[in-house]
């Protein structure tokens, strides 16, 4: 059993889904997505949580250039694989109430994208990483541009150009690193040992940083994000915010900081400052949003800002917090966008001011919404709490003032999220919301799973932290070793 099954099953599934009729395609897609989850869980069951890479596949690909099809799973990758394989079936299930035209293409693209995402999360070869990175981009571009809202053409091309620009600079960085490796290989561990001096590492840092900062997105590279999230179809938004932005965060942990530790050291302050600015900036804008989906989009920038600040502080707690928070944020944000998808599908509006009193007519919906809101605002015993606590602890150990500012995200988040909940769910029902029907079986299933995960991870986070701990400790230590060596 190697990771290749995980990478190729979605591609095969996508091709098979294309053969189905439009009406039955979603069932087929769900079947394959669940099968993929099954494989991931099987891998998890046999996974030894030490720092090694497991289920490794290593085949020659383009040998003249030292490129190998090399992928494997360590603790960090395992969490990302779980994130992807849990969320994709949920996202597919969440589309059950929609009837998309040309649905089989829609689901095939989702599965193609899953293959790209999993390639990114497991690649141990720079070239493979880049290919996966782009292979995830093309399907989501088409998903957003084909099934999106009114302004989709303009918005999605902006999104594409932004991310493509970032990734091309990363490609230059990858090729540059390859040329510096002693063995002329694209292997990740060769990259770690490239042994560049600090000035050159600084350039490599920026080449990677641009790509990841755009993807996450970090302030001031975020301008594509709110528009794209708003225009994309619900499933597209969930894929983007739930999984795809984690590519950027994962990239920082695995490819940015270890590849250019000395470059990172020079720009660490700036990176953390940008992250904290993003937190404050996005929170302030989220206060004033009238459109619920847009509000969630901005809140996502704020949360990601905290995650990246925790990573750039570079301590074991910070990175561990990022690992669990990536999973939690993925689950919460998918839940949140699904909530807004349900509202906008029923009522044809996302204007918060037009809503109110839904809790009275839809009790099940209101419970699920509340749990997701609480998870998002990081109430203790929900999944958000553990991650944000560890992240803040990481930032705190780096600099107390940054931690103080970054900590505002929790307060701000509570304010705008709870206010949103209040305005949408409580108060008097109006003409529009009086007819709001409670959630159907498939919606119940999705929201139920999300709520169970929110509380489950919140009560027993050790289950997740345990998976990634050894790998994170090893990675952080090896980079810190680099810092120490450079000082002498």
């Amino acid at each position: 059993m190697t990771v290749s099954i995980l990478l190729f099953l979605p591609i095969l599934a996508a091709l098979l889904v294309l053969l189905f009729k439009n009406e039955t395609a979603k069932h087929a897609a769900l079947f394959f997505a669940v099968a993929e989850l099954g494989i991931a869980l099987y891998f998890l069951s046999g996974f030894v949580p030490d720092a090694s890479f497991q289920y490794v596949i290593d085949l020659p690909w383009i040998q003249d250039f030292g490129i190998y099809f090399n992928a494997g799973i360590d603790g960090i990758s395992m969490v990302m694989v779980l994130l992807t394989t849990i969320l994709v079936p949920l996202i597919i299930l969440s589309t059950y109430q929609h009837t998309y035209k040309n649905a089989r293409a829609f689901y095939a693209l989702i599965l193609f994208m899953q293959a790209g995402l999993l390639t990114v999360f497991t690649a141990l070869d720079g070239f493979l990483f880049y290919v996966g990175w782009e292979a995830a981009l093309i399907p989501i571009y088409f998903i957003c541009a084909l099934w999106g809202g009114q302004n989709r053409i303009r918005v999605t091309i902006k999104f594409f150009i932004y991310t493509f620009a970032g990734s091309l600079f990363m490609l230059v960085g990858i090729i540059y690193l390859y040329l510096q490796t002693p063995g002329k290989l694209y292997d990740l561990h060769e990259f770690y040992n490239a042994g560049l001096d600090a000035a050159h590492q600084s350039w490599v840092f920026w080449a990677f940083f641009l790509a990841f900062a755009i993807k996450m997105p970090l302030f001031p590279f975020h301008t594509w994000q709110p528009d794209t999230y708003t225009e994309a179809p619900a499933a597209g938004t969930m894929l983007l915010s739930g999984i795809m932005l984690k590519m950027g965060i994962y990239g920082v942990i695995r490819w940015l900081i270890p590849n250019a530790p000395l470059g990172f050291l020079q720009w660490q302050n700036l990176a953390i400052i940008l992250s904290t600015i993003g937190i404050i900036y996005a929170s302030l804008i989220a206060f004033n949003q009238k459109d619920g989906k847009r509000l969630v989009a901005y809140s996502s920038i704020a949360h990601v800002g905290l995650i990246s600040a925790g990573i750039f502080a570079w301590s074991v707690q910070g990175v561990q917090g990022a690992m669990i928070q990536m999973l939690s944020h993925g689950i919460n944000v998918v839940g949140m966008f699904f909530i807004w998808d349900i509202i906008s599908r029923r009522l044809n509006t996302r204007e918060i001011s037009q809503l109110g009193g839904i809790a009275k007519v839809a009790p099940n919906f209101s419970i699920a919404f509340l749990i997701i809101v609480l998870g998002t605002v990081a109430l203790p015993l929900t999944n958000g709490f553990v991650g944000e606590f560890l992240l803040l602890k990481g930032v705190f150990s780096y600099n107390i003032w940054f931690a103080a500012v970054a900590g505002l995200t929790i307060i701000f988040g509570a304010v705008y999220m709870l206010r949103m909940y209040k305005n949408v769910m409580q108060g008097e029902t109006n003409q529009l919301t009086a007819i709001f029907a409670d959630i159907t079986a498939s919606e119940k299933l999705v929201l139920g799973i999300i709520c169970v995960l929110i509380i489950g991870i919140g009560v027993y986070p050790q289950a997740i932290l345990h998976i990634s701990e050894a790998s994170v400790v090893k990675l952080v230590r090896s980079v810190n070793q680099n810092f120490a060596n450079s000082k002498f």
């Binding site: 093309i138 091309i157 594409f160 040329l179």
Partner: protein, 459 residues
């Protein structure tokens, strides 16, 4: 060598067929003949070739590879020609014959070992192309294209010839080995005349491959000439031009690279920016392809600017990827034009709904031209970037990256028009041989994109 003979004799056979009104036999005979040429070329592979005819020609692996790709591209383009020339004129045989004469010139261009043969090859190719550009005798644009091409072409040939004579004047030989020996033996006291010769050759060759600032003929000629001829010019001819360029510079001038690299660097940067930025403003698909072909010439120049052992491989992969993607683009253009009568981007609106297959292959082609991973175009760009970075030309690569980003705008306009702009339209009829060519090219694009070892590393 047999390849060249077959390709030279074939057009004469075709002319006789035309004389005896065997119109139906023209295409099959051409294809069979080219297939035979292809087989003989492949048989030359790894035959440890030595220069023949007193060092005039050298049919080594480099030549075989480029001959093969030229012949295959020509075959694909000719497959698209079924029924195409008949609409233009009654004298169909001539067109096949002239294209094949041009191909004969191309084979000489990729296997010369003597500057006179380079000149002769370029002339055989160019003269045929002048005629082909003006193939629609009664069409004003076609006439303009032919005249422009001829005047500019003759001019550039003059430069080339002058360069060759100057080099002969100082090195005392037309032979590539002799010139190289001259450069290597007397590195310190090479005559200034020799350097001027190198510069003039650069000018002449840049004209032929359509690199800025010698590109002014390209858009008008590409637009005016019949689409099929444009396809031939922008794929096979460009590939051959770069093969000839590379052969000369890697064989003779590599040791004086410090002299000409700055010149070519400037040419490359100019070509990239001019090609891409002008393509951005085009409303016409065919004109956009013309300008994009200029920008691709810029990427191809990378291999010569960063001349090294891997250059031949990079040019080969890039040119192959670019050729097959362009063949798809031009093939689709011909079909869409036949139906809508327009070359504009609007002609592609709503194509995805009426012709999913056509839209899909065009998408593959555009993604490949834009250099998106898992297509052949990405592998080509990847090789070019690797080569340039390995010689620490980081800024050149950064400029290329900026240009690649710009190019997204205009390549994606086609995709956007096809998929995201709704328009009721009739189904474009795609004949079976078009389906074959487009499908084959799209498949090749993806296969090379996923597993480039098929064609890379050959030379």
């Amino acid at each position: 060598m047999t390849t060249l003979i077959i390709i030279s004799v074939l057009p004469i056979v075709l002319l006789y067929l035309g004389l005896y009104k065997a119109q139906k036999a023209l295409l099959p005979v051409t294809l069979i003949g080219l297939l035979a040429a292809l087989v003989t070329a492949v048989m030359q592979w790894n035959s440890n070739a030595q220069p023949i005819y007193h060092g005039m020609m050298l049919f080594n692996n480099f030549s075989v590879a480029f001959s093969v790709v030229s012949i295959i591209s020509t075959m694909l383009i000719l497959l698209l020609s079924k029924g195409y020339f008949e609409k233009i004129s009654k004298h169909v045989a001539e067109y096949y014959a002239i294209i094949l004469f041009s191909l004969a010139g191309i084979i000489v261009m990729v296997s010369y070992h003597n500057l006179t043969m380079l000149f002769i090859g370029i002339e055989i190719m160019s003269v045929s192309l002048y005629i082909l550009a003006g193939i629609r005798k009664n069409d004003f644009a076609s006439n303009e294209a032919a005249l422009k091409y001829f005047l500019m072409g003759a001019f550039s040939t003059g430069f080339l010839l002058f360069g060759i004579t100057l080099i002969y004047g100082s090195a005392g030989s037309f032979d590539l080995d002799a010139i190289r020996d001259f450069v290597v033996t007397y590195p310190r006291n090479i005559d200034p005349i020799f350097y001027i010769g190198v510069l003039l050759i650069i000018v002449g060759l840049c004209f032929k491959v359509g690199a800025a600032p010698f590109h002014f003929w390209t858009p008008d000629v590409y637009e005016g000439a019949p689409s099929l001829i444009t396809a031939f010019m922008s794929t096979v001819v460009k590939t051959a031009g770069f093969a000839a360029f590379l052969r000369l510079f890697s064989a003779c001038f590599i040791t004086i690279a410090d002299f000409w690299t700055p010149v070519l660097l400037a040419v490359t940067v100019l070509t990239l920016f001019i090609g891409n930025i002008t393509a951005l403003y085009q409303q016409n698909f065919k004109r956009m392809l013309a300008f994009s072909s200029i920008s691709h010439a810029g990427y191809l120049l990378f291999a010569i600017v960063a001349l090294g052992a891997a250059s031949a491989n990079s040019v080969f992969v890039y040119a192959t990827a670019y050729s097959i993607a362009s063949i798809i683009a031009f093939g689709a253009l011909i079909l869409v034009r036949q139906q809508t009568g327009s070359d504009n981007f609007e002609g592609f609106n709503g194509l995805a709904k009426s012709n999913p297959f056509l839209a899909f292959v065009i998408t593959i082609s555009m993604l490949s031209l834009a250099g998106i991973p898992l297509t052949a175009g990405f592998i080509g760009k990847f090789y070019m970037f690797s080569g340039a970075l390995s010689q620490y030309k980081v800024w050149l690569v950064i400029i290329a990256v900026v240009n690649a980003i710009i190019s997204i705008f205009y390549y994606f306009r086609v995709i956007i028009a096809m998929y995201f702009r709704d328009e009721e339209r009739a189904v474009v009829i795609v004949p079976a041989y078009y389906k074959f060519v487009l499908g084959f090219s799209a498949l090749a694009t993806i296969i090379i994109g996923i597993y480039p070892s098929f064609i890379s590393g050959l030379i």
